[in-house]
């Protein structure tokens, strides 16, 4: 894998060799995912029902949105630890403007998204201007934003939200839960951005070799701004949907979500050293995490063991992935 990253003969776009490796890596995870699903459907007859699968996708959607955002960031070689706190701030902001008979539902939605985009831009700005590593910058904003969520909400959950607002993340359109609709749209849009746009190709180039990318005339700073804005915006969207789904804006919501999102991206084949990763892989990674936790709940496995099983499966999936990449 290192060879691939260290030899960016063509800084813009990827060679077919690279693309193939990525595809095969994805299959490794896909195989693991299918095996786990098969195993669960054998052990528990309740697993493979339309209703249960729908519930899994709903439960996964919040983490998947965050994971899509952080995938952009990790592809450029960065990291975003602030997304869990952005979920909380966006949720608190949305909830503050979502009481019944106050503002139309677009107001909390727009304000929350603007908040996420603004803090994403702040991350990007500090990272590109100060040369402080993204890990440190976003660790700082993670703490700042958690504090901000507590300040805005005075440490208490904000409830009594309007029905229209609760519909956003809790409702259904033509029998399909809104969460799933949003997830599908976000997946398609993120895939297009990453694979079909110039910006997307620049993201791979920056993550593959930043200096080469800069030498070939790519405005690295602009690309980095874009990924942190995308990450912040998607995190805010996730925050609004979570707040809407549980009908309350909680200042401590989203704590630890950043790690689940990063795990989903990494399980899905995104390399933390940058330059590789796909939205499909990330989606499968998120689904894998969701399937495991749902399956273990169905089997009533004690939560002590659940954590152990989850960790083993995360590492196992990544080992399988790397073996798959080497043999090909």
């Amino acid at each position: 894998m290192n060879n691939v990253i260290d030899t960016p003969t063509k800084p813009v776009g990827q060679t077919t060799y690279q693309t193939q490796i990525r595809k095969l890596g994805q299959y490794g995870i896909l195989v693991a995912f299918i095996l786990i699903c098969l195993g669960l459907s054998v052990i528990s007859p309740k697993f493979l029902t339309v209703q249960n699968l729908m519930i899994i996708v709903m439960q996964v959607s919040i983490n998947a949105l965050l994971a899509f955002g952080v995938t952009f960031v990790i592809i450029t070689g960065g990291i975003d630890l602030s997304i869990g706190s952005i979920v909380a701030v966006a949720g608190v902001v949305a909830a503050s403007f979502a009481h019944p008979d106050t503002y139309p539902v677009i107001v909390p939605l727009a304000l929350a998204l603007a908040t996420g985009v603004a803090f994403g831009a702040l991350n990007g700005f500090v990272i590109t201007r100060s040369k402080v590593p993204p890990f440190i910058v976003t660790l700082g904003t993670m703490t700042i934003l958690r504090g901000l969520a507590l300040i805005l909400s005075k440490g208490r959950p904000i409830s009594n939200l309007s029905d229209t607002f609760s519909f956003l993340g809790g409702g259904k359109i033509l029998g399909v839960p809104n969460l799933i609709i949003v997830l599908v749209i976000a997946f398609i849009v993120c895939t297009i951005v990453l694979r079909k746009t110039v910006s997307g190709r620049y993201m791979y180039a920056v993550g593959g070799n930043e200096q080469a990318a800069r030498a070939s005339g790519i405005r690295v700073g602009k690309v980095k701004m874009q990924v942190y804005i995308l990450s912040g915006g998607l995190a805010a969207l996730a925050g609004v949907l979570l707040t809407s789904r549980i009908s309350t804006g909680q200042p401590n919501a989203g704590a630890g979500f950043e790690l689940d999102a990063i795990a989903a991206a990494i399980i899905g084949g995104t390399s933390t050293s940058g330059g590789t990763g796909t939205m499909t892989g990330t989606l499968i990674g998120a689904l894998l995490i969701g399937v495991i936790s749902n399956g273990l709940d169905l089997l009533n496995v004690s939560s002590y063991y659940q954590q152990v099983v989850m960790g083993v499966i995360i590492i196992g999936a990544v080992i399988l992935d790397s073996i798959n990449q080497k043999t090909n």
Binding site: S44, K46, T49, Q51, N52, I55, M58, Q59, L150, K154, G155, R156, P157, S159, N160, G170, L242, R245, I246, S247, T248, Q250, P251, N252, A253, S293, N294, D297, L298, L299, N300, S302, S303, Y304
Partner: protein
Amino acid sequence: MKHAFKPLLVALTLLAVGCSQSASDSKTDSADGKKLVIGASMLSMQHEFVVNVHDEMTKKAEETGIELITVDAERSAIKQVEQIESFIAQNVDAIILNPAEVEACSPAVSKALAANIPIINVNSETGVKPTAFVGSDDVEAGRIAMQYLADKLGGKGNVVMLEGYMGQAGQLKRAQGAMEVLKKYPNMKMLANQTAEWDRAKGMALMENWIQAYGNQINAVFAHNDEMGLGAVKALVDAGLKDKIMVVSIDAIPDALQAMQKGTLDATVFQNAQQQGAKAVETAIKAAKKQPFDKETLIPFQLVTKENMAQFVKK
């Protein structure tokens, strides 16, 4: 990651300790010199119940004209021990401790006792006995909630239990109380129990999964706090099962009372944050002034149902 940042955290804490120390020193000097100073270390100011207890402590402090210095332990026992050490160094007149852990916070209590500073535990216990304890018995809360379900179900049926953060006193004791009651009813069965970490979204997800696993077999749900209970309610309403399955939880937060008004939550158990906060400060003042005080103040839990909920809405 946690480990990598421990040195950083320790450094920051030391810095904070240093700052707060000099700040309070100047205050006591400038004040009339006789004003009592009480230091309070709270489990987590992100926790609504703790915030409510603390609000009442502040109110009581203002009424009685004492100075209350509050620090937030952010759920860390280590941090809490360091905070108590700094209170001892500041030579406060009394300490109020809202412990983060049963055993890990015990050194804080021992140190305060060794320094002859009265230390009052509020809300939860530590392994080492403090000067006085003000709080409620969580076993009782679990008992009240499960007894309610047993009565409503006529001593027959299947229950699932959403538990608090595993290993915390609140989770262990509420589960213990519930199991005690369950033992008396051979026809009642615990179908499944799992932690949802006191969290509404996690409670909702867990309940959704249980509905898939057990569906109509479930007769009632007991959640260790209202947040998880409300998550379970949401999952049951979405699945169209709320009319068939009862939910009882603990805390009586405003949201829970509102849900009861709507008829979605069946009952909750009220833990009196106000009285705990007020009694803690009162006891601390008495102990500091060497007046007689109660070694243990237990504030009873109360079952809240639709019939008696009006009196709790105002509180």
